[in-house]
Symmetry: C2
Subunit: 344 residues, 2 copies
């Protein structure tokens, strides 16, 4: 049929014998159009195969229905699960989602500024911290154009007042640590993200608090950077195994690192949990098929994703309650077989 050019609103109007304004109304406010006209127009739409040019609509309306999510790594199964929730909600609300991976796709502050100012996106979900200057751009921008909501973690002090949804990371980390303590462990180390990353700050804090409360010392070098990756965790684990005070348990700030950690311990000829017990964080889908199956903190990843997206949607629609602070979602300690009881 129209293999040279798609039908435009004009073609529909001509065919239906009405003005383009009426066609537009039929699509956007059908109740404002008489039934007779509506029927004519609908027929014309059908016959021309018309579908509105989204580019023109976005331009005219001043928004794109595209939101951006910034996350540390698309490859991480935990964030994939969050993304899934985001996409479910995004679809329900009519948004497309674009994502930026801070690990592999360094977004410069310039890029960010450009996106914000050039109307390419209607909102931002932050699942990872961006550069300090980026944070500044966002916080100064906040009253203006693009709403931001934060998922999973406290991203940065400047952004503390932004709407967010996450579990209580401090409590969860305490719980994990206390569980280890309850099993008789006293030498407990922790593998974190990079010191610069705020992503696991709260988890580290929870661990420290629990240790202090139990009057257990944290030796120098027991809190170690595992880069949130398998490789990073393997190096960290080697260091821990060579430590003068070798820990009997390691709390990993995410499951990805726990997987690397377990592998490295076994590669060194030690047993998990016989020699060293492990607790992870996230409960990714691999956690139950590691050897041994991993004891970990379960986060409702998909639910977080959904909530964060709905939250953003409300911010975009400028509903007043949307700007209120954090929304806390429940976590759960899942006990499997990577922790052994220790009798001292």
């Amino acid at each position: 049929m129209n293999n040279v050019r798609d039908a435009s609103i004009k073609d529909v109007a001509r065919l239906a014998g009405v003005s383009i304004a009426t066609v537009s109304r039929c699509m956007n406010f059908p109740e404002k159009v008489s039934e007779k006209t509506r029927l004519k127009v609908q027929a014309a739409i059908y016959n021309t195969g018309y579908s509105p040019n989204t580019l023109a609509q976005s331009f005219r309306r001043g928004h794109t229905n595209i939101i951006m999510v910034v996350l540390p790594s698309v490859g991480d199964p935990f964030f994939s699960a969050v993304m899934r929730g985001i996409r479910v909600a995004a679809r329900a609300k009519g948004y497309s989602v674009i994502f930026e991976d801070t690990q592999f796709n360094k977004m410069t502050d310039d890029d960010l500024g450009t996106m914000l100012v050039s109307n390419q996106i209607d909102g931002i979900i932050l699942l990872a911290s961006i550069s300090p200057f980026g944070n500044e751009i966002l916080s100064s921008n906040s009253k203006r154009s693009v709403p931001v909501v934060i998922g999973c973690e406290t991203v940065s002090p400047e952004l503390a007042d932004f709407p967010s949804v996450h579990i209580d990371n401090i409590s969860a980390a305490k719980e994990a640590t206390n569980y280890l303590i309850s099993q008789g462990h006293e030498r407990i180390a922790m593998i974190c993200g990079q010191a610069s990353s705020l992503l696991t700050k709260d988890r580290e804090y929870g661990y420290r608090v629990a240790m202090k409360k139990a009057k257990l010392p944290i030796e120098d070098g027991w809190i170690i950077d595992g880069d949130l990756t398998i490789l990073g965790a393997r190096t960290a684990t080697r260091n821990l195994m060579n430590h003068v005070y070798r820990p009997t348990a390691i709390f990993c700030a995410n499951d990805e690192m726990a997987i690397g950690c377990i592998h490295e311990i076994k590669a060194a000829g030690l047993q998990v949990p016989g020699d060293i017990s492990i607790v992870g964080f996230d409960d990714i889908r691999y956690a139950e098929v590691t050897a041994p199956p991993l004891t970990t903190i379960s986060q409702p990843a998909e639910e977080i994703g959904e909530r964060v997206m709905y939250r953003l949607s409300r911010c975009i629609d400028a509903e007043d309650d949307a700007t209120l602070g954090p929304e806390i979602v429940p976590h759960k300690l899942v006990i499997r077989q990577s922790v052994a009881k220790r009798v001292s």
Copy 2:
């Protein structure tokens, strides 16, 4: 400054004392503007904080610089790696990428048609098969608007002539199977994707050919659907272990399933590779930390992603060679410890 409204091209023109056409030229064809004028305009751009409204540009130019990738599951580490490559190349070429996950975000044919016709995207990368009708939409659309390129797999017969980049899946599967045979195995089963999925068809075919060539029988029930997931593979593995002719080796069509498979065998009290040997496919980052480390076919995932994106970019720019058939990328059998030698 401009906290009420962003500066537009008019503001710049006024401040620089030139027409908006000249401002536009300065940004798009600076060589067509005299140096003197260019300097004036650049100063005005700087002082107004002007940045072009992308929405208006897209509308006017008729394209968005957004491409869509359709993939089975964002959560799969293999596809994450491919995505990474895509994003690297996309960034280099100035594209943003939107993705559709066929596993969790059923894109209806309607959605697809709408996207195609409403100019929202400049091109499509297919990493997964979509519905037959979807394929039809694409193939009938092909000469018209939106270029499509296929990554990783033969997606569908209708789409066989589309540009694509992937490894030689048949050879790779033969190699995997032959390796098992060379280690003395004769009872070799295979866990595939769903029969309907074309994603692993070539791998299955390669396995069949290798078995036939070695004059080894494939018993009923030895080729079994594992749904490409951990869970599916666990069920499939249980069936295989209960089979009258229990295989001594299992070839899994992806590593994700191999992980589930190994876990299930060990959960049943058997040894890997002592009792049953396993070969995977993909070489995801978890493959080297499974217990035992997984022997598998390595695909250059990131490279595939990059190439596929560059290919698409050339299609969009309508460079003639871009439409030529498949581009084959090398694979490699990575031998680790999940296969045992069998002396019969």
